[in-house]
Each structure stands twice: as structure tokens, then as C-alpha cells.
């Protein structure tokens, strides 16, 4: 997604930048003509400040310095080109104009630097947030890789033992070998899933069943859900809910929502840890995912803020998870709503447009599994 947004922005910028440059050129020429033709004691050069201010919107720091230098040079040229009536006032006015120009340039560059720092901080935080929510998942995935790996190693050892006996037991060795194959392909499948999660590619929209995404997410967080003793219910649509979306990004949506729900119910008494997931078709060619938990819920005042960047009530939260979720959902022409349940806990509803084509073979396979 990041790459796509960037290209999109760059293309827009070139158009915008061209318009900006034309505008600036016209303004500069106008000011120059006015400054040169007007009397020297009229400090028309002060208007170059406008050029710098306009330039600050689209130019980099070095661009602004260049712009400022041009204005400087033009002011000095105008000074010499203008007929002198009152040299003293004219000189003073030109100096004031140059001072104002220098000061404006300094302030604009200073503001620009601050802005750039803020932007890189946001980018860093975004990355951290993504890594963190991934990290939580990976901790539970690590266990999932280790299990089949351990089973495979043990089976391989057993196989060797059966073969190295005084009277080798080929049948049992074969059975052990079968297990090695089975377990290693299980580990490989888990790794394949992680790889698809950590890929940072441009959105790759494809048709798939929302149910399979939810199933994958729940499978990945199963360890955590079991460990905390959460009662999980999934009211799964009995028909495929086909959407056209980026698989990895959709995983981020579902996993963020599930991880949030897990974190929310974790604070509750063990007997009150419920998460219910619903997937269904929702009227006007929309598919719907609802995740409801019996956690601490959302206060009325907070409802308006939960999707804001950096807004968080969770200790150690980055306040970016839901921001990312909403950005992805909206990029897929969907909507996300949050509400507080009357009996406590929070509920998140994601609506996405339903795609009409038939599921791909991969989806069919996934469903048959």
C-alpha cells in the first residue's frame, strides 16, 4: 500500500508542481516589473515574501533557498534599474525588503524542517505499529512452527531407530517417515502464511472469500485465544462472501480487530471472556464482518476518537492499529463502525462491497479443506 500511495502522490505532485511553478513565475515577473517601474521609495520588493510563502507549499528546503536567491537578485537588479528620485529612502526600503525576504526564508525553512521531522516520526511509528501487531502474531506463530518441526525431528529419530535395529522394522520406519513428510509440510504451510503476512507489496487485489481470511486469522490467534481461555464463537455465513481486496491488507484488518478484542477481554474475569465473530451478506451487495467482545467497551466520548491516529487507551498501545484498519477498509470502498454494546464490550462492524465473480480455484480449495 505504501508504495502505491507514494507513486500516486508523486504523479499528482508533478501536475501540481507544474502549476505552482507557472504561478510563481508570473508572480515574480509581475513583482519585478512593478518594482522596477515604480518609484524607488515604494518598497514593492516586499511582495517577494508572497513568492516565498507560496513556494513553501511545494518546494523542498533547497528549492526555497534557490527561490529566495532569485528574489534577492531581482530586488538588487530592480534597485539599480529604477530611476533614482530619493536614493536614501530607496536604499533603506530595498534593505528592509531584503531583510524581510531573508527572515521569511529563514522561518519557512525552519517550519519545513519541523514538518519533515514530524512526518518521518509518523512513518516510523506506523512501521513500529505494524511490526508490533505482527510481532504479537509471530509469537504465536512461532509455537505453530515449532510443533510440527519437533514432531518431524522426533519421527525422524524414531525412523532411524527402527532401521538400525538388529532386525529392522521397515513398516514402522515407513510410518515414521510418512509423519516426517506430513509434519514438515505443515510447518511449510505456516511459514507460507507468515510470508504472505510480512510482504510489503502494492495492493494486489484478488477475489476471495472473506470467510477464509477470518478462518486464517482465527487459526493464527488460536494459541492466544486458548491460552487466555476465551470463548470464541463464529457465526459463519454458509455461502462464500466474495470480495475483491488485497489479501495481506485484509489480514491486517481482521487480525488487528481480533487482537484488539483479545486484549479487551483479557482484562475481564475468566468467566466473562467472550468474542463472537459474524460473517454474513448484508443487503445491498455488501458483505459484513462483525467482531463483538465482552471486554471493557468504549466510552461514549471515546467513540469519536478511536480511529484517530495516536489515540489509545491501552497501555503500550500505539494508537495506530484502528487507524490502519480504517484506512485499509476505506481504501477498499468499505466502511467500519464501532459501537459500545448495551451489556458491555465493544462491537466492530466492517462492511465491504461484494464482488460478483465466482471464487477462484484457490478459494475453492481452501473451502474444501
Amino acid at each position: 500500500m505504501a508504495i502505491a500511495t507514494r507513486t500516486f502522490r508523486t504523479r499528482n505532485l508533478t501536475k501540481k508542481a507544474f502549476a505552482l511553478r507557472c504561478l510563481l513565475l508570473i508572480v515574480i515577473i509581475a513583482i519585478f516589473i512593478f518594482d522596477t517601474l515604480s518609484k524607488l521609495e515604494i518598497a514593492a520588493a516586499v511582495f517577494y515574501i508572497v513568492v516565498i510563502l507560496i513556494g513553501s507549499r511545494g518546494f523542498s528546503r533547497s528549492g526555497i533557498v534557490a527561490l529566495s536567491s532569485i528574489c534577492f537578485a531581482l530586488t538588487v537588479i530592480s534597485f539599480f534599474a529604477t530611476k533614482t528620485d530619493d536614493l536614501q529612502t530607496g536604499l533603506a526600503n530595498t534593505l528592509i525588503a531584503l531583510m524581510a525576504l531573508a527572515l521569511t526564508t529563514y522561518i519557512v525553512i525552519w517550519a519545513k524542517t519541523a514538518e519533515q521531522n514530524a512526518i518521518s516520526a509518523i512513518e516510523r511509528l506506523n512501521r513500529v505499529a505494524r511490526i508490533q501487531s505482527l510481532g504479537e502474531l509471530i509469537a504465536s506463530i512461532g509455537h505453530e512452527i515449532n510443533q510440527p518441526l519437533a514432531a518431524a525431528t522426533v519421527s525422524a529419530d524414531a525412523c532411524r531407530n527402527w532401521l538400525y535395529r538388529d532386525r529392522p522394522d521397515i513398516e514402522r520406519a515407513k510410518a515414521a517417515l510418512e509423519r516426517v513428510t506430513r509434519e514438515t509440510s505443515r510447518a511449510a504451510a505456516v511459514i507460507e502464511r507468515i510470508r504472505s503476512l510480512s510482504k510489503n507489496e502494492a495492493p494486489n487485489k484478488e477475489l476471495f472469500d472473506l470467510n477464509t481470511i477470518v478462518a486464517e486469522t482465527l487459526e493464527l490467534s488460536a494459541q492466544q485465544i486458548d491460552a487466555i481461555g476465551i470463548h470464541l464463537e463464529w457465526d459463519r455465513a454458509d455461502h462464500p462472501l466474495i470480495i475483491e481486496a488485497d489479501h495481506v491488507q485484509m489480514m491486517q484488518v481482521t487480525s488487528n480487530l481480533i487482537l484488539n478484542a483479545i486484549a479487551a477481554v483479557k482484562t475481564q474475569e475468566p468467566t466473562n471472556r467472550f468474542i463472537s465473530v459474524t460473517t454474513r451478506r448484508d443487503g445491498n451487495h455488501k458483505v459484513c464482518l462483525i467482531i463483538t467482545d465482552t471486554g471493557c467497551g468504549i466510552a461514549e466520548n471515546d467513540l469519536a476518537h478511536i480511529f484517530d491516529a495516536f489515540w489509545t487507551k491501552r497501555e503500550g498501545g500505539t494508537g495506530l492499529g484502528l487507524t490502519l484498519v480504517r484506512a485499509i477498509v476505506e481504501a477498499h470502498k468499505g466502511i467500519i463502525e464501532a459501537r459500545h454494546n448495551p451489556h458491555g464490550g465493544a462491537s466492530f462492524k466492517v462492511l465491504l462491497p461484494e464482488a460478483h465473480q465466482k471464487p477462484t480455484n484457490a478459494d475453492k480449495e481452501a473451502k474444501n479443506e
Binding site: 525431528t153 529419530d157 531407530n161 481461555g229
Partner: protein
């Protein structure tokens, strides 16, 4: 000999259970596998069979670590070998301090596991032996009469017959008779033997009378 030993395995992962069962079978070890602590508790166990428990640390329901803590409460006294998917050092230290035989992070080498299991089984056999000899000696000790028990108490603490006679206010002959009865009834071959028996029975702290 191996037929009389048993390895219990508790792991929630069927693949691991199956693999471990087969590995141990390949070295002629009998196993009994369970998917959870609850299943293990529900099963019948023969306390006189040397056995050890291969226990997964992380399981849904009750974790292996918690169960290890509670085993004594359940009256289960068998050596435990932990296996874990993501063990850290503090966890292994805690487990070893609480008396686990070993703590093996998955995946482990089969020699490590088999070696730990052998240690566990040897330990278990010793514990069972100790327990049965204690029961046997207690039975023998209960056959002594009050006078003999008193004499035995002094004898094992190094008192001479003359001193014992004075302490108990009986004749030296009586002490000698009771002493030889004690040696016979307790099946002790020597004084050193009797002292050892007294140690096992923990008579040192018993009140003398």
C-alpha cells in the same frame, strides 16, 4: 525389564504425541499418552511401576508448569521432564528448582530426551524402592513391643547395655535379651545395619521412653 517401566506423555499436539510414542517404542519403552492434564488425572496409574512424565509446558486448559506444582497435592510423585515450544531461561530455571528432571526446548535431540527419560525412570525406581522398604521396615518396627522399641532407641544412639539398663531401670540381662530380639525382628545383620534402618524410619527424632 523395560516392560515394567512406563513413560507418560502429556501434550496437546496429537502429532507430537504420536511421534514421541513411536520414538520410545523404537527403543522398547512403553508409553501412555494424554492430550491434557485432565485426561492424565482421570486415568488409572500403577504407583509401583517405575515411570516418568514427559510434560508439555504450554497447553490449553491447565499448563504443564502449574500441574507440576500441584502434582504433590494429587499424590503423584513421579519425575517430570518438560518439553516446550518456546522455553526461556527463567522458565527452565524455575522448573529445575521445583525438581524437574530436565527441561528440553522443542525441537530436541532424541538422545537428550531418552537420556532424561532414563534418569527419570531410574529415579522413579529408586523412589519406589525406598517407599516399599520404608513400608516393610515400618511393618517390622510395629512388631516390636514397647520395651524393645525403647532399647532400640538407645542402641542406635550408641548407648552401652549397662547405660541402657540404668536408663530404663531394668537388668542388663533384660537389655541383652531385648536387644537380640530387636536385631532378629528388624532383620538387622549388624549394629550398623540397625542404625541405617533407624535412619530410614526417622527414629532419631522419635521420643524415647
Amino acid at each position: 525389564m523395560n516392560e515394567q517401566k512406563l513413560v507418560y506423555i502429556i501434550d496437546d499436539e496429537a502429532g507430537i504425541r504420536e511421534a514421541l510414542e513411536d520414538l520410545l517404542a523404537s527403543v522398547n519403552l512403553k508409553t501412555q499418552t494424554f492430550g491434557s492434564v485432565e485426561e492424565f488425572l482421570a486415568a488409572d496409574r500403577n504407583a509401583s511401576t517405575p515411570s516418568c512424565l514427559v510434560l508439555d509446558v504450554r497447553m490449553p486448559g491447565q499448563s504443564g508448569m502449574d500441574f507440576h506444582d500441584q502434582m504433590r497435592e494429587f499424590g503423584i510423585d513421579i519425575p517430570v521432564i518438560f518439553i516446550t515450544g518456546h522455553g526461556d531461561i527463567p522458565m527452565s530455571v524455575t522448573a529445575m528448582k521445583r525438581g524437574a528432571v530436565d527441561f528440553l526446548p522443542k525441537p530436541f535431540r532424541d538422545q537428550d530426551l531418552l537420556e532424561a527419560i532414563n534418569r527419570g525412570l531410574t529415579l522413579s525406581a529408586k523412589q519406589i524402592e525406598l517407599k516399599s522398604s520404608l513400608i516393610r521396615l515400618r511393618k517390622l518396627y510395629s512388631l516390636l513391643n514397647v520395651g524393645e522399641k525403647a532399647v532400640m532407641g538407645y542402641v542406635v544412639r550408641g548407648f552401652l547395655n549397662k547405660q541402657i539398663a540404668a536408663e530404663l531401670n531394668v537388668s542388663e540381662i533384660t537389655v541383652k535379651v531385648r536387644r537380640s530380639n530387636v536385631m532378629q525382628k528388624m532383620k538387622a545383620k549388624s549394629l550398623a545395619d540397625l542404625v541405617k534402618i533407624a535412619e530410614v524410619l526417622d527414629l532419631g527424632n522419635a521420643p524415647t521412653f
